[in-house]
């Protein structure tokens, strides 16, 4: 429980980062910040995609598929945003300690999830077209 509390605290306490290691060349920190912003934009793109699916996609044959996909994309976007902070925090600490940057499986997992979703949607659209 203490571990979880400390882990969360790193996201909120500005001084906590500076307890670890040495302050690096500020350009590394800026690069880390830009990476974080890129992930936030990725999350926002997923939010936009989910909202677009909900509003502009005509109803598909499979009931609630459209809503399901919208909610899925929105959820992925929200999860991405949380993960973006965590990754920024861990990378910042690794930079300060002179360690290797933390390895990340998230980009691959995200790519697979989006690819699967896209394939399923393509199948649904093709089947719907074929049925008409």
């Amino acid at each position: 429980m203490n571990y979880v509390f400390n882990w969360l605290r790193r996201w909120f306490d500005p001084r906590d980062v500076r307890r670890h290691g040495v302050t690096p060349d500020y350009r590394f920190s800026l690069a880390n910040e830009r990476t974080y912003l890129a992930w936030i934009r990725t999350s926002l793109a997923m939010l936009g995609g989910g909202l677009a699916v909900a509003q502009f996609l005509p109803p598909l044959d499979v009931p609630h598929l459209r809503e399901g996909m919208a909610v899925g994309l929105l959820g992925l976007g929200g999860a991405s945003a949380i993960r973006a902070v965590d990754h920024w925090s861990r990378a910042e600490r690794a930079i300060r300690r002179g360690e290797d940057l933390p390895p990340s499986r998230f980009p691959a997992a995200l790519a697979i999830a989006v690819a699967i979703g896209a394939i399923l949607l393509a199948i649904a659209v093709i089947r719907q077209d074929a049925g008409e």
């Binding site: 500020y26 936030i40 793109a45 909610v71 949380i82 902070v85």
Partner: protein
Amino acid sequence: MTTRDPGLQPERTRFAWRRTVLTFAAVTLLLLRMALYDDAASVRAAIGVSLGLLGLILVIYIGSRRIKAMTDAEPVAVGRTLTVVAAAVLGYAILGIVLVLS
């Protein structure tokens, strides 16, 4: 001993913030449209529009502050600022899900 970067990294970070705020604005538009869907005079619409506009104002404010901070000598970001931005995105995701399901 670090040599001062004559403006490339701070400038790139400024642009990154501007792109992020713009993306946020675009998603806000979609969110507002979603909130006003069906019945523009409902409580659902009022709450959705208010929260969406609040989120956008918050992110614009944070972005402008970071952009101005880039002219400092060592403009290193603070964790809390970034967490607030991510919280705004998460808030949008939750609001979006609520609006889609309602």
